[in-house]
Symmetry: C2
Subunit: 408 residues, 2 copies
């Protein structure tokens, strides 16, 4: 992971929505003939800056209603999650919010947010359900994702997270909710092909190891890939379960145990780390990224974009946290947000590299040195984005929105 191939004065040849060739710029003018492309059909784009493969945000909860501003302040002044949740905050506030909104409202809210993710360079975005927690509201969230996936220009990957929390109406009968997930919700999601993977929030007090295993086993039986929110608070066997089940990824891992590190190091399951979440929550510790990498695990980074614990849309920001907070090298941070993030979505052969056959998803960053992508903190240096070979329209420039001048 410490090595990144960096080409200077390079060119990329795009054919349709795929990359056909990448190499020295001096060879680019002639190369199209090898691909039997008529010269008249060629369009040349000259760029200034550093071109990256489109970033892959492999963990978001982008379908939500309002930001949870009260939670933020209450946590800042020292209130516990339990106290906040007991008085109307926490995940269940977003659940009530999402249940109360129409699909169209959620489409409109999410469309704007995905546009800002794209403007920060994310061309492939995983989006989870999990603020519905009943069949109807979960399917509503997944339909929002399907509609927005059809719109483009970003590639969306839907994950079913009905097991994000135990809904209030099942508070004291979690086993019934697990049965509902396994026997009704997962089959319905699979039948409608609304998600490619199923995720579970596996943590003491939420879903246990045994419950998580039951849910994910049902998901696999219905043809879904599996993922796991694991060991966020303590190393309770979540990473080991992810490896055992052949999960695409185990996510969070701030509390992962040594056994968990060994399990991921010897499995293809990707360790997805979410440092912006730890930062926003004011935690003083982070997932052991270096130990994971040194042990041989594949490490990815993601935003965890959500209204309660990670209101960030910027993977470059998360990469910079990867270097400053997790101790990654810049090259490791870039791979974590491209190649390895694609692997965490089962897309290792199609996204996250500028290489022949890969999707022509590209991000241009205003920088003299490629490492700057993971250096400038809290600002956006992405200057252009292409998906499937097409330039994405710039988002309505923020400095021009929002005000209107007239004579009194």
């Amino acid at each position: 992971m410490a090595e990144l191939e960096v080409l200077r004065d390079a060119a990329v040849l795009i054919d349709g929505d795929r990359i056909a060739w990448v190499g020295p710029r001096t060879e680019a003018r002639g190369i199209h003939s090898a691909f039997r492309m008529p010269r008249s059909a060629l369009q040349m784009v000259e760029v200034r800056g550093v071109l990256f493969p489109g970033f892959v945000d492999c963990h978001t909860h982008a379908v939500f209603g309002a930001p949870r501003l009260d939670d933020h302040q209450r946590r800042a002044v020292g209130e516990s999650y339990q106290a906040i949740a007991a008085t109307g905050g926490g995940i269940l506030q977003s659940v009530r919010d999402v249940r109360d909104r129409t699909e169209d409202e959620l489409v409109a809210l999410t469309r704007l947010r995905l546009a800002t993710l794209l403007a920060h360079g994310s061309t492939t975005i995983e989006v989870k359900s999990g603020y519905g927690l009943d069949l109807e509201a979960e399917l509503k969230q997944l339909r929002v994702i399907r509609r927005l996936a059809a719109e483009g220009p970003a590639t969306l990957v839907a994950t079913f997270l009905g097991a994000h929390e135990v809904p209030p109406e099942y508070r004291d009968r979690c086993a019934e909710y697990v049965r509902l997930l396994c026997e009704e919700m997962i089959p319905a999601v699979a039948r409608e092909r609304l998600a490619g993977a199923c995720d579970v929030f596996c943590e003491p007090g939420v879903f246990s190891i045994a419950e998580s295993r039951a849910i994910l086993t049902a998901a696999r039986r219905h043809g879904l890939a599996v993922k796991l929110h694991a060991d966020e608070l303590e190393g309770a066997g979540g990473a080991e379960l992810a490896a055992e089940l052949g999960a695409l990824s185990a996510d969070h891992l701030a509390g992962i145990s040594e056994a968990g590190i060994r399990a991921l190091a010897t499995s293809p399951t990707v360790a997805v780390l979410l440092p912006a979440t730890m930062l926003f929550l004011g935690k003083r510790h982070h997932a052991p990224a270096r130990r994971l990498i040194d042990a041989g695990a594949a490490v990815a980074l993601a935003t965890d974009f959500n209204p309660g614990s990670s209101p960030t849309v910027s993977l470059p920001f998360v990469m910079a946290l990867g270097v400053s907070q997790l101790g990654l090298r810049h090259a490791e941070a870039v791979q974590a947000a491209t190649v390895n993030a694609a692997a965490a979505l089962g897309l290792a052969g199609a996204r996250g590299q500028i290489a022949p056959g890969f999707a022509a998803d590209l991000v241009l960053v205003e920088a003299a040195d490629w490492r700057e992508v993971a250096y400038w903190l809290g600002t956006n240096r992405v200057s252009a984005v292409w998906t499937g070979g097409l330039a994405c329209p710039p988002p309505a420039a923020p400095l021009s929105l929002g005000f209107h001048v007239s004579q009194a």
Copy 2:
């Protein structure tokens, strides 16, 4: 600090470069007559979002050459500052860089960077010298600031920081450098009116308490206000010295002692906290913001924008860190980047408030709730900026820069 006056459906009347009136929008259409303004001279600007007083960034080192990317990575993988500095990194790398560049080069580099600070809402920006460390190079940096201050549109406040580090040529004769500062450099800066204040990096191993006192006493004798980089690593009496000398501010303070907190609480010296620096450096602790506020100290936030330890241009990002990392309420974070930051520059009566007589520096933030300014992490929600009553041109939209399409 926990209270912020928030007006809904409000209007601001601007006369020239000052705010003349602020109040309910329903009264705005008639109010101009009270100011004897002819109706024909009125221009109306309608905004959508939340209007803040222009943010005041009261601590930056914005005049520099190249980003220090190697330092970033070496620190991430565990090298000490001493090891990095011993092999060409650290502050002295930026000193060599600045000494080698012409004034014009530095003007061009700094102009671009100040434009991005402004685009993130900072309308008043303190800028320090301190990468020159000899008379000529320090004056060069201060002249860069003076030229850019004359250009506008942001208000720049220059601070002389010749005592940022002991220059290599004085490594073993620090007393001589202190004498040079007191007897040649400070008098020259004061004579040319190149700075309004003098700052010292007071820390064991850099400038001691006694040296700092000598330098700042000389500065006061020459009519400069004083500031202090204090107690960044340990509570060695820096905050107490700042209070004793009537400094405008004591900055950093991650290691401030109980005595230091008491000294600031009973003095007008503002405690300037720089959480982005601690984040970027990968530190696990922060200045005790809550204890400072609860003791009665005035707390400000600043970016510390510099190429080695804080490559961030965004005060809203720092405000969000204020809430998430320092335990501030949103209202405290906003006051820390406006009213209190203005006080840290001796501008409490002129900047940092939307109130009659204050500079018409305003920032519009795309938000439904004002607290969102200190909530979304790592993205820029500033949608318009005015300084001195005039709308600032939007910076060249990043998504349109950097590439050019043509037929092959």
